[in-house]
Symmetry: C2
Subunit: 331 residues, 2 copies
């Protein structure tokens, strides 16, 4: 079978519709006929189901640029995994914006209502705007053409940590605040800071700024002095981190430094006492809402979080904080 | 006991020398007397061994800036771990440049010859020049005053992988080269590329550029066309990555993409056949020799590598390639 390319659609007739759409979920049914996206036609060529499109086999379709290699690799991989999928075109699927393929649950197809994954194809070197994440799976094609699927979703963050802390005094030292003889609840119940020893607790600048703003910590110059110091050493990033820190504390979640994991914070949802501390659940990286990811950085964060049995969450800061959970997916 | 600060040295007499140097390794013996660095005097104050320096206790020494909080935290931590250590000053230790403390093996002290660690103190927000790594341990103090020790050393990279590959033809497609019906040795023995299926191998641009330069791969425009494409999509980074790729292959080591680990390459030292592939040993991140690390990025890379049982190596590229291995250390 030979087909022809009409703009960005490969037109096929009734027989092709029966063979490829009705029984195997390729393309988009148009009246009695069939429209195929070039990537679908290339896959049918690759499988030997059709001979050529405008005289081109799969090698020529890829070489000519009529079909993108990364789209083809992802399409093929999902087909190899037993999925039917439809290119996300206006009129072909609901809400095509922001994704390349709509993937159906195994055993289902374009004639059903269910959707398993909304997939966006990304090359290893493509920038990924943080604002575009959520409700989509990134299919990242690396330089050696291996695929990594990253599932992204918007979420909230909530916990039950809520210890009261009596007033405490501190001294601002370079990049930390030292509290000598603080009330036990500061560290023991509320899990602020880190003990230098039994008689002294060190607070990070972000912890100190939050506690000073809440009226709990007295420090020379009040919260303004701590925030100023934070901005001196971190710039705008300090304000973003403080916004996320406050959002987490205000939601009953205890943020602690995520430094050892290369993140901004690790979080504990249900702290009653540091003597009975569970496993921290989330790793949080704070970013401006207009951040562009390099896929490699995403892969690094998600892989590390998985390895330490935590969930990676990106906190995107603008006027508000939006939370995007990202995890590796094996479709 | 009250001591006085003379410039950046705390002067103490013969009795202090006996108590603090001879028996516990503090300070530097000067004739019959003792010189202490302020951080050592602060630690003696903290322990209650001396009362004050110029009327200042440990709180005042830290608050006045006479002693840096991060230096104090690292000094205290190493003492808590049972080490004797000496501030790295000219005349106090050999080769003081580039480090803050010279740490002796447990049970040894400044009167012995052995050195366990040469330690540089780094705050979480300090830049760390890549060129300054090697032969030192970074003691990174994070914002919550927790410590992470990272041991850095210069090394070489060597292996026994050395398969011959017959000539092969390929087509340059956007960011990859596709070889249809290549010789089996290309993938099977030499482990170049990734199989699309049994009849086709996809090469990354860096693999293709190397193979074209070696005269193995024929491609339209030769290696120049592949390198040009690489520079189009990655800029200078492509040249650095190609230099490292070539250095690894020329040393008998097979580099494959490290994308899933957020690195440039993972490496296999002894490949005979992909059917009998061992565990990859190294994760390699390619950087310009004048790169400045953020300690958090170092922590992320080293943590991830450890979690997947690989060794993190930074390849610093200038005229040559220098290799810096970095691993977490528990002193």
């Amino acid at each position: 079978m030979q087909l022809t390319l009409d703009g960005d659609v490969v037109r096929a007739g009734n027989r092709a519709r029966e063979r490829f759409y009705d029984s195997r979920g390729y393309g988009h049914a148009r009246d009695g006929d069939l429209d195929l996206a070039p990537v679908e036609a290339a896959h049918l060529c690759y499988r030997g189901d059709i001979d050529a499109v405008d005289g081109m086999g799969v090698q020529e379709l890829l070489a000519s640029g009529a079909v993108s290699a990364v789209d083809f690799l992802v399409y093929k991989d999902l087909r190899d995994r037993g999925f039917y999928l439809t290119p996300a075109r206006e009129g072909w699927v609901d809400e095509p914006a922001g994704v390349d393929f709509v993937v159906y649950p195994r055993g289902k197809g374009p004639w059903d209502d269910a959707v398993a994954h909304r997939v966006r194809v990304v090359g290893e070197r493509d920038d990924v705007p943080a604002s575009s994440l959520g409700d989509c799976v990134l299919a990242v094609v690396d330089e050696e053409s291996e695929l990594t699927y990253l599932d992204t979703s918007r979420r909230t963050v909530e916990g039950t940590s809520a210890a009261d802390v009596p007033a405490v005094e501190g001294t601002l030292l370079a990049e930390r605040v030292l509290c000598w003889d603080p009330p036990a609840a500061l560290y023991q119940q509320a899990f602020y800071g880190q003990q230098l020893d039994e008689d002294a607790v060190q607070l990070s600048l972000v912890e100190a700024a939050y506690l000073a703003r809440e009226g709990v910590l007295s420090v020379d110059g009040d919260d303004a002095a701590v925030v100023e110091r934070g901005r001196d050493v971190e710039g705008d990033r300090f304000d973003r981190r403080l916004a996320v820190y406050a959002a987490l504390r205000d939601s009953g979640v205890v943020p602690k430094t995520g430094f050892k994991f290369g993140a901004d914070f690790r979080t504990y949802a249900d702290v009653e006492s540091v003597d009975d501390l569970g496993h921290s659940e989330l790793l949080v990286r704070v970013l401006p809402a207009d951040h562009d990811f390099e896929p490699r950085d995403l892969a690094l964060d998600v892989r590390l979080a998985h390895g330490v049995r935590k969930t990676m969450v990106f906190a995107l800061v603008d006027e508000t904080v939006e939370w995007v959970e990202t995890r590796r997916l094996t479709p």
